[in-house]
C-alpha cells in the first residue's frame, strides 16, 4: 500500500512567522462565543499559514544546544575521566577503590535513569534552600543538569580508556623511569600519560561522538536540543518524516566533523614508529 503522506520539505526553511490570516481574537476571551471555550469561533492558537512558526530557527537553536551541551559535557568528561582513570592505576588502595566505585556506579546505571535522578531526585535530597535554588533560581536548570549528568556518565567510560591506555604500556617503562630517579608523578607526567593519551585517541573519538548522540537523552528533562526541537516541529506540523530526516543528516554532519577533527589531532600528535598509532 502506497504511503498516504503529503511531503513538504519547505517547512524546514520557515523563518519568521507569516501574518495570521485566520483573524483570530485573543484566545480564551470569555464571552466571545456561545460556549465555555470562548467559542471555537474566533479562537485559535495557531495560524493557518504554511510557516506558522520559524521552524528553521528552531532547528538551528536545537543544533546549537546539542553542540553546547555536548562540548561542555566533554570538558567535564575529559578532565574528570582523566583524574579517575589515573586514580585507577595508582598504588594507593583507597584512591583506587574510590575511582573504581565511581566507574562502576556511573557505567552501570542507564543514562536515562541518571538524567532523571540528577533532575528530580538530587534537589530533593539537598537541604531545602539549596534544593530550591537548584529548582527555581538557577537559570536554565535543565541545561546545567544535562551537562553535569552527561559529563559524569561519560567520564566513567573515558576513565576506563585512560586506565587501559596506561596499562597497555609495558611495566618496564615505569621501572626504567623510577630507576632513572624520576618520582612516580614524573613517571606519569613524562612517560606514561604522553604515550597512553596518544594510544587512546580512537576510543576517545567514539566517546566524544557518543556524547553528541547521548545528548538527545536530555530532552527527557526538558533540554530543547536537536531531537527535542525536531519532535516539537513534528507535533506542530505533522511533517514528521521531513523533520527527522533533517535531524538525522545534521547529527551525521556533526559527528563527521568530530571524526575529522580527531583524525587531524591524531595525525598531528603521532610519534613516528609507535605501533599503536596505525600501520602505515
Amino acid at each position: 500500500m502506497a504511503m498516504k503522506y503529503n511531503w513538504d520539505w519547505s517547512i524546514l526553511l520557515c523563518r519568521s512567522p507569516e501574518a495570521d490570516p485566520t483573524g483570530a481574537v485573543e484566545p480564551g476571551t470569555p464571552g466571545s462565543g456561545a460556549t465555555e471555550f470562548g467559542g471555537g469561533m474566533g479562537q485559535t492558537f495557531d495560524t493557518g499559514a504554511e510557516c506558522a512558526q520559524p521552524y528553521f530557527d528552531w532547528i538551528v537553536s536545537g543544533l546549537s544546544w546539542t553542540v553546547i551541551v555536548a562540548c561542555a559535557a566533554w570538558v567535564i568528561t575529559f578532565s574528570l575521566g582523566s583524574v579517575i582513570g589515573v586514580s585507577r592505576t595508582v598504588e594507593n588502595k583507597t584512591v583506587r577503590a574510590i575511582a573504581t566505585a565511581y566507574v562502576e556506579m556511573f557505567r552501570n546505571v542507564p543514562l536515562l535513569l541518571q538524567m532523571f535522578i540528577w533532575f528530580f531526585v538530587v534537589p530533593e535530597l539537598l537541604p531545602e534552600d539549596a534544593g530550591r535554588w537548584l529548582k527555581r533560581e538557577l537559570p536554565l536548570p535543565e541545561y546545567w543538569t544535562a551537562i553535569v549528568c552527561l559529563g559524569m556518565y561519560h567520564a566513567s567510560r573515558t576513565a576506563e580508556q585512560v586506565r587501559a591506555g596506561i596499562e597497555s604500556i609495558p611495566r618496564g617503562q615505569t621501572h626504567a623511569g623510577l630507576a632513572m630517579g624520576l618520582t612516580r608523578t614524573q613517571v606519569y607526567r613524562h612517560v606514561l600519560l604522553p604515550v597512553s593519551y596518544r594510544i587512546i585517541i580512537p576510543p576517545l573519538t567514539s566517546d566524544f561522538m557518543g556524547i553528541f548522540k547521548n545528548s538527545s537523552v536530555a530532552l527527557t528533562i526538558g533540554v530543547m536540543e536537536l531531537t527535542a526541537q525536531s519532535r516539537q516541529i513534528a507535533e506542530y506540523t505533522f511533517n514528521i518524516f521531513e523533520v527527522f530526516t533533517a535531524a538525522t543528516v545534521l547529527y551525521m554532519m556533526v559527528t563527521l566533523i568530530v571524526v575529522t577533527i580527531m583524525r587531524f589531532v591524531e595525525a598531528k600528535v603521532r610519534i613516528p614508529g609507535t605501533i599503536a598509532l596505525g600501520g602505515d
Binding site: 484566545p27 495557531d46 530550591r132 527555581r136 536548570p141 526538558g222 519532535r231 511533517n239
Partner: protein, 295 residues
C-alpha cells in the same frame, strides 16, 4: 428448465453484486478486506480515553468507540471473524504509523485541527476539552495572568504549549517554561515545586489529580485557554472509510447511546482506575446533537 434458469439468474446477480461491491472497495477498507485484519493503534496511558486495562488490553472511551466502528466494518465487509491487531502508539509515532499503513485507525486523545489534517483525516468530534492550569491549592494562581514571573510546565509539542505561549506573548507575560516529555513528568515538576503550574487539557488534569497521592492538594483553575476537540484518526483521502466511521458515530449520537458510553468512562469507576469525575459539558452535549446527522 425453470429451476436451471432461476439458478442461473441468481448466479448472475450474485456475481454482479460481488463484482460491483469489489470495485467500490478502496483505501483502508480494501486493505482490511485483502489482509483479513484491521490494525488498531491505541494510546497506553490516556485515561480514560485509551489506556491499558487490568487484563493488559487497551480500554477506554475512544477505544470503545473504535470497536463500534470495527463492528460496522465486519458487517459491511461480511467478515465476522475479522482479526483486530492492537498496536500501541505514542504522540510521536501515531502519524507515521497511520501514514505508512501499520495502523488503520488511531484511538486515543488526539486533537482535531486543520494543520494536522494535511497529513491525516479525522472522524466526527467525540470529546471537547481545552487547556487549563493545574496548581497546588493556596498558590494564589487563578488565571494565566497570575503566572507572570512564575514557572509553568508544558508538554512538548502539544496544543496546550501553543496556546500558553501565544497568550503569554500577546499579553506580554514573563513566564518561565519548563518543557516536559509526558504528563507524569509534568505532574512531577508541579509536585516537586519546580514549576507553579502544569498547563494541559482539562480532562487530563482531572485524571492526574484523581490518581495523585493526595488529590485534595491540587486544583484546576482559570478559564479555558484553548479549544481542543478530540477525534479518532484515519488515513486521509479515504471518503469510504470516513463515511463508515462517521455513520457509526452519528448513529450513536442520534440514539443517545453515546451518552451512556460517556457516563461509563467519565463519571463511574473505570477498570483499574478511580473515576475521573468529569460530567458531560454543555458544549459536548450540543456537539453530539449537531453531529447526529440524519440519513
Amino acid at each position: 428448465m425453470f429451476k436451471k434458469t432461476v439458478i442461473l439468474i441468481a448466479a448472475v446477480f450474485a456475481l454482479a453484486a460481488t463484482d460491483g461491491y469489489a470495485a467500490e472497495l478502496y483505501g483502508t477498507l480494501k486493505k482490511i478486506k485483502d489482509s483479513g485484519q484491521i490494525a488498531m493503534g491505541h494510546r497506553e496511558a490516556s485515561v480514560p480515553f485509551a489506556y491499558m486495562g487490568p487484563d493488559g488490553k487497551p480500554v477506554g472511551y475512544t477505544v470503545e468507540l473504535c470497536y463500534r466502528v470495527i463492528d460496522r466494518i465486519k458487517k459491511t465487509l461480511k467478515m465476522p471473524n475479522l482479526k483486530v491487531k492492537l498496536v500501541p502508539v505514542t504522540s510521536q509515532t501515531r502519524i507515521p504509523l497511520l501514514a505508512n499503513g501499520t495502523i488503520d485507525i488511531e484511538c486515543g486523545s488526539t486533537t482535531n485541527n486543520l494543520t494536522r489534517s494535511k497529513q491525516i483525516d479525522y472522524l466526527a468530534v467525540t470529546f471537547i476539552t481545552g487547556t487549563k492550569l493545574g496548581v497546588k491549592k493556596g498558590s494564589g494562581i487563578k488565571e494565566i495572568e497570575d503566572l507572570d514571573g512564575k514557572a509553568v510546565a508544558l508538554s512538548l509539542g502539544t496544543t496546550n504549549e501553543k496556546a500558553i505561549k501565544r497568550i503569554a506573548k500577546a499579553k506580554g507575560l514573563k513566564i518561565k517554561y519548563h518543557m516536559v516529555k509526558d504528563h507524569p513528568q509534568g505532574w512531577l515538576a508541579l509536585d516537586t515545586g519546580r514549576v507553579d503550574a502544569y498547563a494541559t487539557d482539562h480532562s487530563l488534569l482531572a485524571g492526574l489529580i484523581t490518581s495523585s497521592k493526595d488529590p485534595s492538594k491540587y486544583e484546576i483553575v482559570g478559564r479555558f485557554l484553548s479549544y481542543d476537540p478530540y477525534s479518532i484518526m484515519i488515513r486521509r483521502d479515504d471518503s469510504a472509510m470516513r463515511l463508515l466511521g462517521n455513520s457509526v458515530l452519528a448513529d450513536l449520537m442520534r440514539s443517545g447511546e453515546i451518552l451512556k458510553i460517556y457516563d461509563k468512562w467519565f463519571t463511574k469507576k473505570i477498570p483499574g482506575k478511580p473515576s475521573v469525575e468529569l460530567p458531560l459539558s454543555p458544549t459536548l452535549k450540543v456537539a453530539f446533537e449537531v453531529q447526529a446527522l440524519p440519513y
